[in-house]
């Protein structure tokens, strides 16, 4: 199915034409700072199913083991909508909140729980990982 994610002001948009391959929650410090919340929720789609439109600024940050992550955010409102990660070169990660769909597919994994806020729990079964998912 087709879904659209966009930033707060609507200028940066991503249209996806398939269901995500992976939906996950990440509690790492990078995701907490980026979102200003307790975790990030990401959906990874194959690149051929993703079409982005609108201007974006790119913030490049370090990932694990020398890898990079390129975060695309709107220069007008600051919202990070999608990113490209060296860890998953065939996929685009999209911020699930940008879809604004409370019925979006549920996360199946929860990573970097070593820095999880103690009060955060899930109401369904997820796979729990203290650091990243095993590759």
């Amino acid at each position: 199915m087709t879904r659209t994610a966009h930033c707060c002001c609507g200028a940066l948009r991503v249209e996806v034409s398939a269901d995500p391959d992976i939906v996950g929650v990440c509690h790492c410090g990078e995701c907490q700072r980026r979102t200003g919340s307790v975790f990030g929720v990401v959906a990874f789609f194959k690149k051929e199913h993703v079409r982005a439109e609108g201007p974006s600024n790119i913030y490049v940050r370090d990932g694990q083991e020398g890898r990079k992550v390129r975060m695309h955010f709107c220069p007008t409102c600051g919202t990070t909508v999608f990113w490209e990660a060296d860890l998953r070169p065939d996929h685009i990660g999209v911020a699930v909140g940008a879809f604004h769909d409370a019925n979006f597919p549920r996360p199946t994994g929860s990573v970097w729980e070593a820095s999880k806020h103690g009060w955060v729990v899930f109401a369904h079964d997820v796979a729990h990982f203290p650091t990243g998912r095993p590759t």
Partner: protein, 137 residues
Amino acid sequence: MERTGQCHCGSLRIIATGEPDRVYLCHCKACQRRTGTAFHFGATYPKERVRLDGGRKIYERDADSGYRIRFHFCPNCGSTLYWEGDRNPAVCGVAVGAFDTSAFPPPSDSIWEESMHSWLGLPPRMDHHRQGRPPAT
């Protein structure tokens, strides 16, 4: 006491003095989009107890109340750390996730639950509100 937080890239820092007036979660549409995650985790303070340090850009829009609200974000990485608005000019809000994990107490309120993701578990002792928090009587 002072608590210090920073944006994703570290260019914009925020220093908050003393205890927040309120710590809360917001599941509204605008907060989910702005944060890109399931909910916004925020704290409010009197403005004079919060200081921003570093370059910032401001995104201003109409709030649901009809008043103007302004989000201060880092132009290098996009993270929003702070906001203030015309509805209550003496108060500001901070993004709790920008601070160290253990720096803040758990939230006491959860608002706009009508658009909450169903898979979320929330702390046991919270006030739950389908929409905004009722005004103080």
